[in-house]
């Protein structure tokens, strides 16, 4: 039993890592643009499929295709912002939310058009897992967790050490003061989309490594990703790390008592509980 739980905890950390990367993007975007970006899951799928094209089409190893996928997805995110969201920003966050819902559907259709509706994998065949006692660890899982740690650290450094990263935090903190300080908001917004999109791409690639690729893969992760962001206090990228881990662990550990199909329900229940008890999140989110 103890080993079972430990094994589940490992899976939990793995999916927590993936959720964290998604939730950070959602939180960054929310912090600066004040709207819930519903197309984020599908951006993850786009990233995963970009990498798939390079792996399956050009025979790149996955690690080498990841940077291209990240850049491509960041570009897609910025392009969507500049063509659609930018025009709706002054209208209202509600309209932006509805628009992003439509973008989500459109992105998924594009994925389906280009790569087809079927399941895909980066590498077929069975990976030889490592065994530590009764615990089974797949090399992919190690890469996912390590990758997430590296990325989160990199993001942390970006947000705390670079001028642009600090400007992002400043805008999320106090938009009006950022403007009167001369911070160029449009440029910061573009960078926010690039960073959020890039992180989403990595999350998508990791999700593809962990399971498989499918056009709906991103959308199905949207609920847990938002649950993680809300748990951490939406608008707080650091909270998203804690939120992602809590949701990831809870979803995996819950399979001891309930049917694994209902994992999303666990994320949902935690989110609802949070909304009732402490709507501002574990760490105080943006109002």
């Amino acid at each position: 039993m103890a080993t079972d739980l430990l094994q589940l905890a490992i899976y939990g950390v793995v999916s927590g890592s993936i959720l964290t990367l998604g939730a950070i993007g959602v939180s960054l975007i929310y912090g600066i643009l004040r709207f819930a970006h519903f197309a984020h899951g599908d951006l993850m799928a786009v990233g995963a499929y970009f990498a798939f094209s390079l792996v399956a089409g050009l025979g790149f190893p996955l690690w080498a295709s990841a940077p291209f996928a990240v850049a491509g997805t960041a570009l897609v995110a910025v392009a969507i912002d500049q063509t659609v969201y930018r025009r709706l920003r002054r209208v209202s966050p509600i309209i932006l939310l509805i628009s992003s819902f439509g973008i989500a559907i459109a992105l998924r259709s594009v994925v389906q058009l280009i790569w087809g509706p079927h399941n895909q994998v980066y590498a077929s065949g069975i990976q030889l897992p490592w065994r530590v006692g009764d615990i089974v660890i797949k090399p992919d899982h190690v890469w996912i967790v390590l990758g997430a740690i590296v990325l989160v650290t990199a993001l942390h450094l970006f947000l705390t050490r670079t001028k642009m990263g600090k400007a992002m935090r400043a805008m999320s903190d106090n938009m009006d003061l950022a403007l009167v300080s001369g911070i160029p908001s449009e440029r910061v917004i573009v960078v926010t989309w690039a960073v959020g999109g890039g992180m989403a791409a990595v999350a998508g690639i990791f999700l593809g490594m962990d399971t498989r690729l499918h056009p709906v893969m991103g959308w199905s992760l949207l609920l847990p990703v938002f649950a993680a962001a809300i748990l951490g206090g939406i608008g707080r990228p650091y909270g998203a790390i804690a939120g992602g881990m809590v949701i990831g662990l809870a979803m995996e550990m819950s399979t001891v008592v309930i049917d694994p199909t209902y994992k999303p329900a666990v994320a949902f229940a935690l989110m609802v509980l949070m909304l009732i008890v402490r709507p501002q999140g574990l760490f105080k989110g943006n109002p």
Binding site: K166, R169, D173, L179, G182, S185
Partner: protein, 234 residues
């Protein structure tokens, strides 16, 4: 050359005008204070100078350049810094980061300026790694001023810098503003503590109902019996 000249300014938020043909000027190195009863349009006037209010008529000139139609981020680049009354720091960022954000548009070495600010506000130096949201009101006000000074502006706009501060801090704040001014930076501020503000400033404007009423030197205004009555009507 006049530093800031506001000429016949009429405007407000949305539909209703709050300012009705206001004139005001700040000469280089001058310290000018705007006083008047609540709702007279003092803060609105200051915001109008900084491009934050819709201006229907009139002009704002900075060193004879027309800045009436510029956005705040463009006005900052002209050499004007603005300290809002409330929410004038980035609460989740450290003191040092707040100062850096003040200098966002500068691409040169900001270290010397930051050191000067730390010497001027030793309290900020002590707290440089503390997040602004956890500081007291007086410290935040120092930080807000420090942030605005990072640009090395020619003109500093201060909106009620002593609001909500305890008496001892009010004195200190005026003292600091005077020192900043003595170094040649033009100052335009809105103040509630009219007596103290008039005592330290070069000139003052009294605004009521969005219009100029009196302008004179600080001491003269202080001695003016009508000024006190203007606040209480009648």
């Amino acid at each position: 050359m006049t530093l800031l000249a506001i000429e016949g300014l009429t405007g407000g938020y949305g539909g209703a005008d709050i300012l009705h043909g206001v004139d005001l000027r700040v000469e280089p190195g001058e310290m000018v204070v705007i006083i008047g009863p609540n709702g007279a349009g003092k803060s609105t006037l200051m915001k109008a100078a900084f491009g934050l209010v819709k201006i229907r008529e009139g002009a704002v000139l900075f060193e004879r350049r027309d800045i009436t139609a510029l956005r705040p981020d463009q006005i900052v680049r002209q050499g004007i810094s603005y300290v809002p009354q409330e929410q004038n720091v980035f609460p989740s960022m450290t003191v040092e980061e707040n100062l850096e954000m003040g200098a966002f548009i500068r691409n040169d070495d900001i270290r010397p300026q930051m050191d000067r600010i730390y010497t001027f506000f030793p309290r900020l130096a002590e707290r440089r790694d503390q997040v602004a949201g956890s500081m007291s009101g007086g410290e935040r006000q120092m930080l807000a001023m420090g942030r605005a000074l990072m640009l090395e502006p020619k003109l500093l706009l201060l909106d009620e810098p002593t609001a909500g501060l305890s008496p001892i801090f009010i004195d200190q704040t005026f003292e600091r503003i005077r020192k900043i001014n003595e170094a040649g930076i033009g100052i335009l501020m809105v103040e509630q503590n009219a007596k103290q503000a008039l005592a330290v400033c070069d000139r003052g404007y009294v605004l009521t109902m969005g219009r100029n009423r009196v302008d004179d030197t600080g001491p003269n205004l202080l001695a003016n019996k009508d000024v006190a009555e203007m606040f209480l009507g009648g």
